[in-house]
Assembly symmetry: C2
Homo-oligomer: 608 residues x 2
């Protein structure tokens, strides 16, 4: 991409172009400027660009020379490039280059990713890898240093850990713009020393601390969280959550991801209250490849906000100047104004946010939904690709669950019950019948085997349990996308297929696989950290479609079963979870036994 | 004052107070919160404070312990402390401590002064002196490094000069928050190397560059200026100037000073356009002691904005959060939100901005228009007080103007004609009659002698000329407040009184004096740099009243004659000016002769 010039280095050049002594490199003629500074639309406005920055907004005829590229924009809106203030690139299963190729044509010019998925696998090296890889794209990528890796240290084994010293080290780096979502809000509120050390490290370097406050409590807890210097939060699921945050001076990051589609509700914080909207922003958080390919990225979210009643100019402010002000980067970004980076979209229908042209740094980066620049395909280094380490190949024996001894018959067994399209689970208890000293799955009651195998350091540790709700009639599905430690998770109705699917992933460095009757039905290799593909987006999408078909073939009728599955090990969510260390009661935050002891049977949970 | 805590050091403490584990130091109970984040007024809101910062906004009952100071605010508005984003403390003739004592009771809690008057006398040492003196007050003072000292290097001799290296040196200092008003906009536009080096120094340290763009041209010139990284400007005198600046992403600093009362006109940029007002701020620029004492400071300006039709909450945003965002200090300042400094006003009538209580850093700093903290009176060091150096005492002979040789009679003479309440002058030509080889003043045509004596380095250089319009019948007035070089300026009808007034100032280290018939009528000593008093504000005001009376006694009917006089040497303003180096044609930016040569007579100027 074009060289990125710091403003300090080009003030005289920009002045010369604006004043007419030198000519612009690019002039966009006769646009309808969406002026996010004043909230106006200004007809018949030219934009002159030099050194990748806006030199002049107004009448640019005097800046146009024989070498100036002139782009006619008559009838089109000129809009600042869209910015996504909170997301995890890993959710797209694309590497950053492929992600950039996918989102730029949709008008995204800057993102603030928190690479905490890869950090759970590769630690600091993973964060640095993602930031470095991003530098090969024209997308402006402002990386946030993950704050909570692993998410729940005592309950699982991730591939790596990040602590206050690592945070302090990364805060010294220019391309690390702040601290990633501080999910440990209990730690913030309770004054946990390591948590506050991380806040300290970011604040000391005057960088931005981003939030994740998912409680409905907006009084003392939210105040404590905000008072700790946390500047934004994407976890509002009710309108009143977002409103409370904005009132406390936090940026509300209204989320519209593939699975968490909160905008419909949360944007009412803005549309139903006559408030100053400068603290409202829109973010994607987690977007899957099919959503990106079929609906788009921030353009889709802007469109959704407009559909929900937000004024189009205000919606655009929420993905431009408001985001820039959140990160205090508004000297360089967020508006089409003199001195700012020439990240400019031409849009034909504002409410539909249909992006026709995308300029980044004054260079045409996409046109008519196609990338107009080439992004070199990477040859990724071995250390990011060799992350799936099992102690030994899995066998059917590994998935046998020994009945309790002395064995009651039936054995009262704790079962995780999933809830479609929700992040929570129910902790259930079922009477399970032992056979030959082992407790098998029970397709008749939709109870499958579930296993989480440590896959980072080949320790051989493995958690085993049961899960209800996937609808599997047989076979098995495995995935190394298993939040947040991203161990190897396998669900299935028999040990042979489970071992087969798991081993297939171990062989290809991770990914997702489905198996039945000793055959692999579908395989999506994610060789980068077991999380990201090396393929192009359409290829990934095609493989995802095949996997979805395989799920259905196995009997599952859920919409996004991999997503639901991916959260089963995440011990910060209620009520029952399984990690490589075992079954966790996340209501009481403690390990629990798979088989209920007589004394406790039925004490806390529903009995089927 | 209370210790100022960086947020990084107190996150855990604030969280503990908000969460209820520790108690607040101060709780303001049951206020009507002016929430500048969302633009709402929130009834029955408590504010809990610890470590000088807001810990919680909402219901603070759980934060109130036996040692908590509780302030009932029922019926009163809680408003963030007022911030003045552009001003020169020197205009008040008060030292910074006295200035703080005066403005804090009016609700001002933070100022961004550009000490360029004292910098013209004392250079860097003067800037450091002002910043250090400010540290003795509870007022938050964010000093801007003057950018244009002297204002017009080729035409005058100031006491000091500030260049790019000095700027770079000061940008390293934590209490220097940016670059002072860049008055040399022609230099910005033309790409002047030193000017852009100063911009570079500020931008390289990520500090704010403040502006002064006084041309009515809002096209290529203003774009060039904005593109150079200049973030704000207080020089709009027409509504369209301010609107153009906001549209280009510059903060419009709408000015209401003692003499430059631009608000009535300029605020129409906001009231007559339905725009987002986040880029609108209110500033004082230059305020005289009588205005501060009789009308107030930012409270007065907020009141004026409301009178002109600005919504009170929006007006308050213009002196709080908008200013904080302009300087990108909104993590610490500008709103009453968790984590921010507890700079809080209690106001009984919002539209009238009548400030009843002022808290700075969580400490009651003023109540019922009286300071509630003590600010130690300074003993100022010698180097700031010994700045008035004449080569020798002045005598009547010094003010004799020799007639041209060969002497035409009458001699066609260039005369500066002042315009009441305006900063400009007219370049006039009058036929003046010589007597005994000298040209005397002419009271009958209201033409007085004018002299500017270099007073910094005792060089003995002196400019002489004539000025019309003060209405003096006799006597003389002298001042060392003479922009921007602040040499010793004397206007009078006879040399004896001129010498007397000038010598009186030289003896007391500068100030203002009026004399007649060999007697001093009034004297306002300004011993600090010849600009600032050591007295308390009421004493200064009293002396100013006496000086005003003396002006009237001498025949002058102008409203603020000292102000008009103070600008006579400022060679950036049209049309004719006098400095210690001589008469300057500021239309063509060149020195000119006092007496018109036959060939040029009447070529450019009006002849009386």
């Amino acid at each position: 991409m074009n060289k990125i010039h710091a403003l300090k280095d080009v003030t005289a050049k920009l002045a010369a172009v604006a004043a007419g002594r030198e000519k612009a490199e690019l002039v966009i003629r006769d646009a309808r400027l969406v002026n996010v500074n004043t909230g106006e639309i200004m007809e018949h406005t030219d934009i002159a660009v030099a050194c990748g920055r806006v030199a002049l907004v107004g009448d640019a005829s005097h800046t146009t020379g024989k070498d100036t590229k002139v782009v006619g924009a008559a009838g089109m809106y000129a809009v600042p490039g869209f910015m996504d203030g909170h997301l995890h690139v890993e959710s797209s299963m694309m590497n950053v280059r492929e992600y950039a190729k996918t989102v730029i044509p949709h008008g995204t010019t800057a993102i603030f990713p928190d690479p905490h998925e890869i950090a759970n696998v590769l630690g600091k090296k993973g964060v640095r890898f993602m930031a470095d890889d991003a530098a090969a794209t024209p997308l402006r990528v402002f990386t946030l240093m993950p704050s909570c890796v692993p998410a729940v240290p005592a309950f699982e084994d991730a591939g790596a850990a990040i602590g206050p010293d690592d945070v302090a080290e990364f805060m010294e780096m220019d391309d690390i713009c702040g601290l990633g979502e501080m999910m440990n809000f209990p730690g913030v509120l309770s004054g946990d020393e390591n948590v506050h050390k991380e806040l300290y490290a970011a604040l000391a370097r005057d960088k931005t601390v981003t939030g994740h406050y998912s409680m409905p409590e907006t009084g003392r807890g939210l105040n404590a969280y905000a008072a700790s210097g946390i500047r934004c939060c994407h976890e509002s699921v009710r309108r009143e959550d977002a409103l409370a945050k904005m009132r406390l001076g936090m940026y509300a990051q209204i989320r519209e991801g593939s699975a968490w589609r909160d905008l419909h509700e949360v944007v009412k914080s803005v549309t139903e209250n006559k408030i100053d909207t400068r603290f409202a922003t829109l973010v994607s958080d987690d977007t899957h490849p099919d959503t990106l390919l079929s609906r788009g990225h921030m353009d889709h979210i802007v469109r959704r906000a407009v559909e929900e009643g937000v004024n189009p100019v205000a919606a655009i402010q929420m993905v431009t100047i408001n985001v820039a002000q959140c990160y205090r980067m508004d000297r360089d970004l967020g508006s089409i104004s003199p001195g700012k980076f020439a990240d400019i979209l031409l849009i034909s229908d504002l409410a539909k946010a249909d992006v026709r042209k995308v300029f980044i740094n004054g260079v045409l980066a996409a046109e008519d939904n196609k990338l107009a620049v080439s992004i070199e395909k990477a040859v990724y280094p071995g250390f990011v690709k060799n992350t799936c380490h099992l102690k030994k190949p899995l066998t059917a024996e590994d998935f046998k669950i020994a009945a309790p001894d002395p064995s009651p018959s039936p054995a009262k067994t704790r079962v995780i019950e999933i809830i479609e399209a929700r992040v929570g689970t129910y902790a259930r208890e079922f009477d399970m019948k032992a056979e030959n000293g082992f407790v098998p799955p029970d397709p008749s009651r939709d109870i499958a085997l579930l296993a989480v195998v440590e896959r980072h350091k080949a320790t051989g540790t493995m958690g085993r349990g049961f899960v209800k709700g996937f609808g599997l009639k047989g076979g098995a599905v495995a995935s190394t996308v298993a939040h947040d430690a991203h161990n190897l998770m396998i669900v299935g109705m028999n040990g042979t297929d489970m071992a087969l699917a798991g081993n297939a992933l171990a062989e290809c460095g991770g990914g997702m696989a489905a198996a039945r009757d000793g055959k692999i039905l579908a395989l999506l290799p994610l060789p980068i950290a077991g999380l990201l593909s090396e393929d192009e987006a359409p290829v990934i999408a095609e493989k995802v479609v095949k996997l979805d078909a395989a799920w259905k073939e196995l009997g599952c009728g859920l919409e996004s079963p991999f997503m639901t599955m991916a959260l089963l090990p995440l011990a910060v969510l209620p009520e029952l979870r399984l990690t490589n260390r075992g079954l966790i009661d996340t209501v009481n935050y403690r390990f629990t036994e798979l088989f209920v002891k007589a004394a406790e049977a039925g004490r806390t949970a529903f009995i089927s």
